[in-house]
Symmetry: C2
Subunit: 189 residues, 2 copies
Amino acid sequence: MQQVELTKALYRAFFHEWAEQGFAALSLERVAARAGAGKAAIYRRWSGKLQFADEAINTLALKMAAFEDKGSLDADVRAFHLRLRTVLRHPLVRRILPDIHAEAARLSEMKAISERVAQARREEASKIIERSIARGELPQTLDRSVALDFLPSSIYWRMVVIKNTLSADELELHAKGTTAALRALSSSH
Amino acid sequence: MQQVELTKALYRAFFHEWAEQGFAALSLERVAARAGAGKAAIYRRWSGKLQFADEAINTLALKMAAFEDKGSLDADVRAFHLRLRTVLRHPLVRRILPDIHAEAARLSEMKAISERVAQARREEASKIIERSIARGELPQTLDRSVALDFLPSSIYWRMVVIKNTLSADELELHAKGTTAALRALSSSH
DNA sequence: TGTGGTTGAAACGGTACCGTTCCAACCATA
DNA sequence: TATGGTTGGAACGGTACCGTTTCAACCACA
C-alpha cells in the first residue's frame, strides 16, 4: 500500500526541483533526496521523468474557477488579467510555465502537456469572448483564434518574457489595450 | 594562435546543442564532440557554459537591420510583425529564445543575456512608436512601456507559447489588433 | 637548428546520476 | 505463528560528464 503522504511529498519535491533546475536538468535522485525518499519509491510510481511530470501536472487544479460574468468585455478582461497576473506571480509557476514552453519545442511529450495546460485556460478565455459576442460587444464574425492570442499575451510577455512587474495602473492599460485589440478584430474570411 | 574556424565550429555546435537539449542540460563534452574538437579547446576560450553562451549570443547580429519608415503606424506594425514571424520561425531561434526566457527565471546571468537580446529589439520597436508619435498618430502621453509590451506579444504568444503557425491573414489581424491596442493607450499619470 | 610558447585531441581521475537490486520492515491472511 | 506479498531506503554497477593534464604538433624567433 503506497503511502499517500509520500506521493504528495514527491510531487512537491518534483515541482521545486523543476522550478530550480528546469525539466531538462531535473534529477530524480535529487527529487527523491528532497522528499526524504529513495529512488525506488519514484520508480514504483512512475516510469520516468515524463510520466512523473505528466501526473504531477494532473494533480494541479487545472480547472480554473469559472469566471463570473462581470457584465462587460472591459470588466471581464480586467478580471482575467488580474487573475493571470496572480498566477504568473507564483514563484513555482513563473519558473515552471516558461520551462514547459521551452521544453515543448524540444520534446513532443512535453508539447502535449503544454497543450493540456493551455486548454483549460483557453476554455475559460473562450467564455469571456463568447459572452461578449452574446452581449453584442464583439462581432459574431470575430476570429476566435486570434482573439484568444490577444487575451493573455501582453501580460505573459511583460511578466514572463520581460520579467518586470505590473503595477495596477499598467494592468489597467493592458486591459484597455487588449479590449481595443479585440474590438478591432473581425474575420477576414 | 587559436584557429578561427574552430571557434566558429564551436559556436555552431553550441547553438545546435542548446536548441536540442536546452541550456540546463547542455553538455560541453557533446559540444566539443559535435565540433570535432576536444574540451581543452573550449576551456581555453571560455571559462564555462555561461561565458560560452554569453559570447555565442554576442556573435549574432543583435543589431537588427533598422526598420525603414513605412509611412504609417499600420504599415510599420505589419512590417515589424512580418519580421518577427520570420525570426521566430528559425529552427534554432524558436527553440533557444524560449529557453533563454525560461533559464532567465532561474539564473541571474542568463537574465542579463535575455535583457541584452531584448534591448536590441526594443530599440527598434521604440523607433516605430516614436515615429508614430511624431506623425501624430499616437499621443505624446503614450505609456511607452506598455506599448512596447503590446508590439511583439501577440505574435510571440502564438508562435512560441501556443506553437501554432501564423497565416498571412492572421498576421494581418494581429497587426490590426496590435495597432488598435496602441491607439487605445494613453498614459494615466 | 634549438628553444620556448601555444594549441588542441585524447586521456585522466573524480563525481553525479541512472535504473536496478537488495533486504528489512510492514501488512494481510490462514 | 508462519507465510506471502508489498513497500521503500540504501547500495549497486555502469555511464555520462566534468575540469584538468598530457604531449605531439605547430609556430615564431634567435
